[in-house]
């Protein structure tokens, strides 16, 4: 059986967030299992299921090359802006 990664959008306006994985024979069944496993308590308004094999992930061995160069570049952070009042989800 295929392993599927499940992403749930908690509310309109928010992004889908990874919530876990499950086994299913096909995409339709994966979607239904995801509904039963991850949205029983009104956690979401939309579900994506993606075959885990289709995800290309960075490897922990490449961590230094991938992420360290950003560590000493604080000017890339948008912390120099004043946040306007009333902006949510930031």
């Amino acid at each position: 059986m295929t392993l599927w990664e499940v992403f749930v959008r908690p509310r309109r306006g928010l992004s889908h967030v990874h919530v876990g994985s499950l086994h299913a024979e096909d995409a339709e069944l994966a979607l239904r299992h995801a509904r039963d496993l991850f949205t029983r308590r009104q956690e979401g308004v939309s579900i994506w299921v993606v075959p885990a094999a289709q995800i290309t992930a960075s490897s922990p061995d490449e961590k230094d090359a991938f992420f360290d160069p950003a560590a000493d570049k604080p000017y890339r952070h948008p912390t120099f802006y004043e946040l306007p009042e009333g902006v949510k989800h930031l």
């Binding site: 086994h23 096909d26 339709e28 069944l29 239904r32 299992h33 509904r35 039963d36």
Partner: protein, 229 residues
């Protein structure tokens, strides 16, 4: 037992809340029997979920007739009014899927015809999911392997004799049921079997399977009446 006043719904037939409550209770228990036996963990959660939906509807419907615990735990098989279809054993997974398809396609039409009834109006959304779940599995197994197709064909032959009884109270539900079930079976390349029909559940004349189900379901309550967690 008390006799509730039922609305008549779109087709002019009152909702038989005792019969449908018993259907939901018995089918809920059948699905719960899969717990620790389901083919996969995901499927087990799915079946338990469906079982809980039905248990909720059973409680609401049976409460109209008296104390829900007394009705569930202290009646004998002859006093239950559920249809014969829902008391049939789980069998293999194909039997469970076919039973759920045949029954929930009926319940969906029944509830849909009773928007004035609180349980039906809320339940129709839950049952729409049940029907869809059963349809997806019917397609998967009907079009799956030779083995899964053979098992689905056997399940249909075993369970079809109990479908006529569903429409005793409201024959008008038959046509939309036929359209949905027939369409799903065609799509799944499964044939509608030609079998005789058995009825009796609505009059309390059950197959031998109900007594065994109730013996298990009622054993705790009968041994320790009034016990609480």
């Amino acid at each position: 037992m008390t006799e509730p006043v039922e609305g008549t719904g779109k087709h002019g037939n009152p909702l038989n809340s005792l019969a449908i409550g018993d259907d939901c209770l018995v089918l809920s228990h059948r699905l719960a029997e899969w717990i620790t036996w389901a083919p996969t963990l995901e499927e087990e959660v799915a079946l338990a979920n469906l079982s809980l939906d039905l248990l909720g509807q059973a409680r609401a419907l049976l409460s109209r007739h008296g104390d829900e615990d007394e009705l569930a735990y202290l009646r004998d098989p002859g006093e239950f009014r559920n249809c014969l279809l829902v008391e049939q054993p789980n069998g293999d997974f194909a039997h469970t899927v076919v039973r759920h398809l045949l029954y929930t396609a009926f319940l969906f039409e029944l509830y849909g015809g009773h928007p004035e009834d609180e349980v039906a109006a809320k339940g129709v959304k839950e049952i729409a999911y049940h029907r869809d779940y059963a349809r997806v599995w019917t397609l998967r197994l009907g079009l799956g392997t030779e083995e899964s197709h053979r098992r689905m064909t056997a399940a249909l032959a075993d369970l079809w004799p109990y479908t006529g009884e569903l429409f005793e109270d409201d024959p008008g539900l038959r046509a939309p049921w036929d359209a949905f079930v027939g369409g799903t079976l065609r799509e799944a390349s499964l044939a509608v079997p030609e079998t005789g029909q058995r009825t009796g559940g609505r009059r309390g004349e059950h197959t031998e399977h109900l007594a065994a189900l109730l013996a298990e379901m009622q054993s705790l309550h009968r041994e320790h009446p009034g016990a609480r967690w």
